[in-house]
Structures are given as C-alpha cells and as structure tokens.
C-alpha cells in the first residue's frame, strides 16, 4: 500500500514536472509549513488554447506530501472540502466541481473522513463566451484547502491559468486528465444493472442496492453527500448475494429525510486504484429540499380535511349523491336503521383505506416504488372500475333490480346494489375507490409526508383521511334530525335516480379515456365489447330473473348471464384486451410540450434554462382541468413563450419509474405536480396542485430576464 502510494506520488511528481516544462501558461503555488512544502496547487486545462464558445475542462491539481490528505466534497467527521473560487471575466461560465472518488480514511476515536492522498485533480467545465478579444485569456481563482496528517493546516493560493485564444485547439495534459476522468463517479446505471431503493426506519436511512454486477467486487461502500443541515453517522454495509444494504444513521431530527445524495463505490479492494463509483441522485434534481413536516398532528389534520374534500371531487360526486339519496329515502324510517346503514357506509370507507394502507405498507417493505393512485396505472383495474360503474348506472336506469338476498352474496353486482347494511358498506368502499385519483390539495402534502414514514404513520394517515371522508355521513346518520332539512321522498326520486345514472355514464367515459391513453383505441373497443355483454347480462337479470318467472326460466337465465359475463370477460378482456399494445409515449400528441426523459431534464438544467415540468396522467382529472384552464390558456402560453421557458410534460399514466422517482424527490405521492425551474440553477418552485392563471403568471415573473433573453 505504502509503496503503491509512493509510486503514485512519483508518477504524479513526474507528471507535474512534465507539465511545468510543456505548458508555460500557468503558475503553481505552494503551501510551506516549517520549511516543508505540504501542498502544491496548480491550475491546468485540457486544451492547448481557448476557442471562443467552445467548452473545455480546467482542473485544480493538488499535490500533497506523503501521508497528508486534503478533503472530498463531503469531508466526513472532520475537515473541510477544498474550495475553488473563480474570478472569471465577463461572459464566462463555470460548472460545479467534479470530484474524483475519494479514499475513506479512518482515524483513532472512530473518526472517518473522505479525502485524497498524494495527489488529486478537481475538474470543472468552463464555457468561454462566443467572442473573445485579445490573444490570451487569464483565468484567476482562489483555492483554499485543509491539509491534515496528525495535524491540520489550512492553505490557500491565488492561482492563474493563462491560455492563448485561437480558432482551433488541441488536447493538453491528456495523461492527467484522462487518469482523473477515469476516477470520476459515473451516473447511476440502468435499472437492469443496478436498482437503488431508499427506506427510512426511525433514525436510520437504509439504502438497498441490488446489482449482479456489484457481486463481483469484494469491496463496496456508500459515501454520503448530505445536505449541510443533515448530520449522518457512518454507513454500515451488509451483503447478501447481489444485494447490499447500507444503513446510515441520521442524527439530525429531520423525520422527513428520505434519501441522501452520495456515491456507491466498488472495487477489488478498499482504496484500490481500480475502484469505480456510481453516483446516486442527479445533483441538479436532488438539490430540492423535501417538504418539511412540522408536526405530526398537523399532517393528520390535513389528511382529515383532504378526506372531507374528497367528497366534493367530480369523480366521486355521483356515488355520494346516491348515498345522500339513500338517506332521504330512509328519512321517514327507524332512526336506528338509519344509524346502522350510515355506520356501515362509514365502515366501508374505513375498510378501503385500511386495506389500501396495509397494501402500501406491504409493498413498501417489499421495496416497490409506491405512489398515490398507483392502482389507476393498472389498466385491468380501470376496466374493473368501469364495469362496476356501468352496472351501477344500469341499476339506476331501472334495467334491473337486485332484490334477492341470497343472490346478493354472489358478486360485486349484488353487493353494491343491495339495500341494507352490506349494501351501504360496499357503497362506502365504492365511493372511496373512485375518489383515490383525485389528489385533493391538502391530501398531497399529507400523503407525501406519510410515504416517507413508517408503516404505523401510513396507517394513521389513511385513518385520518378515512375519518375526514366519512365525517359528513357519520353526522347525518347520527343526527337524523338534520335529514329533515333534505327534501321529502316522492316520484321525483326516480327521475333523480336516472339522472345520476347519466352522471355515472360520464364517469365511464372518463375511465374509457384512461384506458385509451394507456392501451390505445383497440383497448377501448374490446373493453366496450365486454361492457356490452355485461349490459346484456344485466338486462337479462332484470327481465327474466324475477320472482314471477318459472324456476327453469330463472335457471337458464342465470346460466346465460354467467356465460355472458365470464365468456365475455375471458374473450374480450383476457384475450383481445390483453393483446392490445401499451401506447408508447411518443404516439401521443403534445403540442409545444417536450416529452419528459431524465436526460432531457438534466441537460436543460445544466444549460441553466428555465424549465416548467407538468407531471400529469391520463386518469388524473385535476391534471386535465389545470391543463385546459390554466396551462393552455392564451395568457399563460404567451408568458411561457415570452420568457423562453422549456415546457416538459411528464406523463405518469403508465407509472414511468423515472417520473415516480422525481415525484418522490419532491415529497409528492402522485400527480398533478408542477415544478418551475427558474433557470440559472436557482432553486425549483413547487406549485400547488390546483392552479390558477394569476398564480402561474406571478411565478413566471421570477424567471430572470437574463434567462428570458437567451
């Protein structure tokens, strides 16, 4: 190890010597301590000359005496990172420092630091302006560092990089630049190579990396790069086959912290020269602070309010009207019965939310990416929902009635339509299922908080939402006196019932549009065929399975109904629908919006452009509303255009995992989500879930004139 380090150092010394002779246009500066030169600092470039407008890489080369080290961007338990402050002429741009993979160094007293021995080159991309006057440019920077062995000594130097200006250039300092470029962490590989998953367990963050590629390397480690406000302990690694789990204690009281930036380092041995690393989280995207929870009860309250507002959502309104309607019908009846039916409805709401919470907790611990309304990204779920909505509508139109209690237990058909407690219960379930894709304003924050939390918190959060949604029904059933405020029953009820049926058909149209967006026109046709068979079955039920019909007729009818439903389901859904292809994002028309890819966002951010990202999905009504009324409004479109904002549409209809990841980074469990990056690497602005034109226009004002001018 020591001889290795010595060799490296000799090589570095040779390289520096060679540089000194070859390139006369830079100067070096040394840090001397008690007659010894501890650190020599030099600015170098990877080009022989500056070509106006053409990017190149500059580097700070630090050369340390043996056994002394300088620090990485996250220094670990002690020390401070090296800094480089450029004083650039007008029009120049400089990117962030690219840090080579550091060494993890242990000192007595369980002190762990990340730094470099012997030599390091910190790289920075420079963009010269499109026109340059003069025959040379002089780039000055102030470098400061801390160098430690047994003791620590801060050092600094005013450095100068002088390069000729030319129309063409060639490479320079190739050896050292290519050597350190090889040591830069790479971006995270495709998910089939490695998958990373974060989990928060109490005061510990757990990073699980699944990768067969990593299994070949005996040494694997995670080097965190926490935000300044976050204090982390030492990551500990556990390996089981191709899976590595890193446990990182979080010492600050930030309960909402759900992931860290950092690099996963691997190689044949710790500190070896052949080491590689993958960086986790694109630095541009992860710079976003998640929504901070202030108090748990406050989030429970948000959940409760959000649950209450779910009642007013367009997707759930028809079912809710049914329930109110049911209350009116019962108004003249026994109080106890009303209370029981109300409680059953409330129980249905709770049952669905508890079920959903348990499912989420299960999936979360199984390491899946989970977000709100995820069930709507499954086309079969949407088909099933559509079928239920249709059957409900036909029932309201009077096509069939469900009156036989023994039949009631045979299927969802009977369950939901049955009068009485079980019916009320399943009406509650049904109303809630329909409500989930409508992420009401408050609910977003509350759930975003919950999804980063433990299973208990998720359960509590869902209970709060359920309580909010159930609250008005509970009140009405507990206080039947208030029901008297509702109109008296009469023949008008039949008309209202039929009207509700049309409302449900409108819901069905919406669900069909979702199916179309997910699977294409063919899928709409095949699922509609199934719905026709289903309608026919409902009609047969209403016409022939009646108490007045003979037993044989009833039996035959039931057989035919089963054939229609099961056969239609098997053929149209199981065969034809399943074969319909998923619509690829490219086929959809998106106007002046660009389709989201992580690469597009990253490159636009790097350029410092102003960007607006619309996170949307075909099944999201709120998204559609915002798009039609705000984002596509003339005033807003003009403002985007005037300010040169790049508009990106991130379509989450089919649960694109890359989009899921970004939603999570912003602490949001689902769509809609709107993010404005004001440009010039400023902090992104998260918009509320319900947009207004004036709000968007006001926020667009923050896009700087400089960016707009570009």
């Amino acid at each position: 190890m020591v001889s290795n380090a010595m060799r490296r150092q000799q090589r570095a010394a040779l390289a520096i010597g060679a540089l000194l002779l070859a390139a006369p246009f830079w100067s070096a500066s040394g840090q001397t301590y008690q007659g010894r030169e501890l650190v020599q600092a030099t600015l170098v470039a990877d080009v022989s000359a500056v070509v106006p407008g053409k990017k190149f890489t500059a580097g700070l080369l630090l050369h340390m005496v043996p056994n002394w080290h300088t620090y990485w961007k996250f220094p670990g338990d002690a020390g401070i990172p090296t800094e480089l402050n450029w004083k650039l002429p007008e029009g120049w741009k400089v990117a962030e420092i690219q840090w080579p993979i550091p060494l993890k160094l242990n000192e007595p007293g369980d002190i762990q630091i990340y730094g470099y021995h012997d030599e390091v080159l910190l790289l920075q991309e420079m963009t010269p302006p499109a026109s340059l006057s003069g025959s040379t440019v002089q780039l000055v920077a102030e470098a400061s560092w801390l160098v430690c062995e047994k003791i620590c000594i801060p050092g600094s130097a005013n450095l100068k990089l002088e390069l000729p200006v030319a129309a063409q250039n060639s490479g320079a300092n190739d050896e050292i630049f290519s050597r350190y470029r090889r040591r830069l962490p790479q971006s995270w590989p495709e998910t089939n190579v490695a998958r990373a998953n974060w989990q928060r367990n109490a005061s510990e963050l757990q990073l699980t990396v699944e990768s067969a590629a990593l299994a070949n390397y005996p040494a694997a480690d995670f080097f965190p790069v926490p935000e300044p406000s976050v204090v982390v302990g030492h990551p500990k690694a556990e390996r089981t086959g191709a899976k590595i789990t890193f446990r990182i204690p979080i010492e600050t009281a930030d309960k909402n912290l759900s992931a860290l930036n950092g690099i996963v380092v691997f190689g044949s041995d710790e500190g070896g020269a052949d080491r590689n690393a993958w960086s986790l989280n694109a630095p541009t995207i992860s710079a976003v602070a998640p929504v901070m929870p202030e108090a748990f009860w406050k989030y429970l309250l948000f959940g409760f309010i959000g649950g209450f507002i779910l009642n007013l959502m367009p997707c759930v309104l028809p079912v809710i009207s049914l329930k109110i309607f049911g209350f009116i019908q019962h108004a003249g009846q026994d109080r106890r019965r009303i209370l029981r039916s109300g409680l059953a409805f409330v129980a249905g709401i709770f049952a669905w939310f508890i079920g959903l919470a348990l499912l989420l907790i299960g999936l979360k611990s199984a390491g899946r990416e989970i977000t709100w309304a995820f069930q709507f990204t499954n086309p079969y779920f949407v088909v099933a929902m559509s079928a239920v909505v249709l059957v409900f509508a036909l029932n309201l139109f009077g096509v069939f009635e469900i009156s036989l209690p023994q039949f009631a237990n045979r299927g969802l058909l009977g369950w939901t339509a049955k009068e009485g407690d079980a019916g009320s219960f399943f009406q509650g379930v049904f109303a809630t299922v329909l409500a989930t894709p409508c992420t009401a304003p408050f609910l977003g924050t509350a759930l975003g908080f919950a999804f980063t939390q433990s299973g208990w918190t998720i359960l509590l959060m869902f209970l709060a939402i359920a309580a909010g949604m159930a609250f008005p029904y509970f009140l009405l059933s507990a206080q039947p006196a208030w029901l008297r405020l509702l109109p008296k029953p009469g023949p008008w009820m039949v008309r209202v019932k039929q009207l509700m049926g049309f409302l449900l058909l409108a819901t069905l149209l919406f669900l069909l549009a979702v199916i179309g967006a997910e699977r294409g026109v063919e899928a709409i046709i095949w699922s509609s065929c199934f719905f026709l068979a289903l309608s026919l079955a409902c009609w047969m039920k209403g016409a022939f399975v009646v108490p007045t019909a003979s037993v044989t007729a009833r039996l035959v009818s039931v057989m035919l109904i089963l054939v229609l439903v099961l056969g239609g389901g098997w053929y149209f859904i199981g065969q034809k629908f399943a074969a319909a292809k998923t619509v690829s994002a490219e086929t959809a028309a998106h106007g002046d919006w660009q389709l989201f890819t992580p690469q597009l966002l990253e490159s636009e951010l790097k350029e410092g452009h102003a960007i607006f990202v619309d996170f949307t999905a075909a099944w999201c009504l709120t998204c559609k509303f915002n798009e039609a009324n705000v984002l596509e409004a003339t005033a807003v479109r003009d403002a985007f255009q005037r300010r040169g904002v790049t508009k990106i549409k991130a379509d989450w209809t089919n649960a694109d995992p890359a989009i899921t990841k970004i939603l999570k980074q912003f602490g949001r469990p689902g769509v809609p989500m709107y993010v404005l990056y004001p440009g010039n690497h400023a902090e992104p602005i998260l918009f509320p879930e319900v947009l207004t034109q004036s709000y968007v226009l006001e926020k667009l004002e923050t896009v700087s004139a400089q960016v707009a001018a570009q």
Binding site: A78, G79, P108, G109, D110, I111, I151, A253, L460
Partner: protein, 202 residues
C-alpha cells in the same frame, strides 16, 4: 382508538432517539466522567447537576480552535455564559505525543496566554471522555441541561472555515442554544455537523 394509535406512534417516534449512533443523541443522558483539570481539581458532569454545562473539545494546535481563540470569540462566549451561571468545561482529549496534548503546566500557560474564561480546562489524555461523547472535532460543542440531558451537540457556528473573518457573519449555534435554554425554550437547532480538526486520540 385513535388516541391509542397516536400514543403508539409517539412512543415509536421517541424511541427512535435510542437508535442514533456515534454521539449520544440530543435528549439523552449526558455520559459522566471524572477527570482532573489543569488546576488539579476533579471535574465531572454529575457534580454540576442543576446547572447548564457546556463541553468544548479543545486542541490549541488546531487552526479551527485558533480561529475562535485568536479572534477572542470563544473567550467572549465563555465570559458571557459563565457570568450567567453556566459551567463551561474545556476538554483536551489529545493523546501524549500528538498535536494539542497538554500537561497541567502547559495548559495553565495556554489559558493565561489566551486569556481564556472557562470554568476549567479538563485533561483527558486517554480520550475516555472524548470517546464516550463521540467527540470527533475540535471544537466540538455539547450543551447539557440542569437535568443532565444533552440539549445541543455539534458545531460552534454556521461557517465551517478556519478563517476568523467569517465569525462576524456566522450564527453561533452554542450561543443560540444557551440563550434559548436559559429563557426556557427548547433548542430549535439541536444537532449540527461539527467542523474542525479531528480529535487526536491515541
């Protein structure tokens, strides 16, 4: 039902503190020690029960310590808070032969030279106290309340540089923590990342 669940959750949240590694967590009991100071007196945390106690890890050779003593910043803090009845223990955990190790005489000389104002400079050459607190930096600061619980752990201030000119523009976390504690408030920023030289343990 709901209150029960809420209680369960709160218990869960409180118990998370137990899992925190390295330094004892904020809110937990301050580890006790019994060490000799530069004047030959025995110093412990437990003997100051009923008072606020500041622990400051110290190494006179460290540029980050020099930043705060050379500028008079540390002495000013020591004077202000010892004047308000706070006990200030400066602890040197450097091992013999390593940077910052002080004999009792050297310690007294340094205190006179730097005109320090702490209650006592405690010598911990074995690093026992330092390790039990997970002290990793000089300076590394702890504030202990009259009940013997840690209420602040971390950096002296918000600017992690060795440059004394940064002191004027930085937030002194220890001062904020003590001011809040003394006026009966909870410390808002109770845990920060300490910065400085590593403690020179054996």
């Amino acid at each position: 039902m709901k209150t029960k669940l809420l209680t369960a959750f709160l218990t869960l949240a409180a118990s998370t503190a137990l899992f925190a590694a390295d330094s004892p967590a904020v809110g937990s009991n301050a580890p006790d020690f019994s060490l000799t100071d530069s004047k030959g007196n025995t110093q412990s945390v437990s003997q100051y029960k009923g008072k606020y106690v500041v622990l400051e890890w110290f190494n006179p050779g460290c540029p980050f310590v020099q930043k705060h003593y050379g500028s008079g910043n540390m002495q000013k803090l020591q004077q202000e808070f010892t004047g308000k009845g706070v006990v200030w223990l400066t602890i040197d955990s450097s091992a013999p032969g390593l940077e910052g190790y002080l004999t009792a005489e050297q310690a007294n000389a340094k205190m006179a030279e730097w005109k320090t104002r702490q209650t006592a400079l405690v010598l911990d050459p074995d690093g026992k106290a330092g390790r039990s607190y997970g002290a990793k930096n000089t300076p590394h600061m702890f504030v202990i309340n009259p009940e013997g619980k840690i209420v602040y752990e971390g950096a002296i201030d918000s600017k992690a540089t060795p440059n004394p000119s940064d002191i004027a523009n930085s937030t002194n976390y220890v001062k904020v923590a003590l001011d809040e504690s003394l006026s009966g408030k909870t410390v808002t920023n109770a845990n920060t990342k300490p910065y400085g030289c590593s403690v020179k343990y054996k």
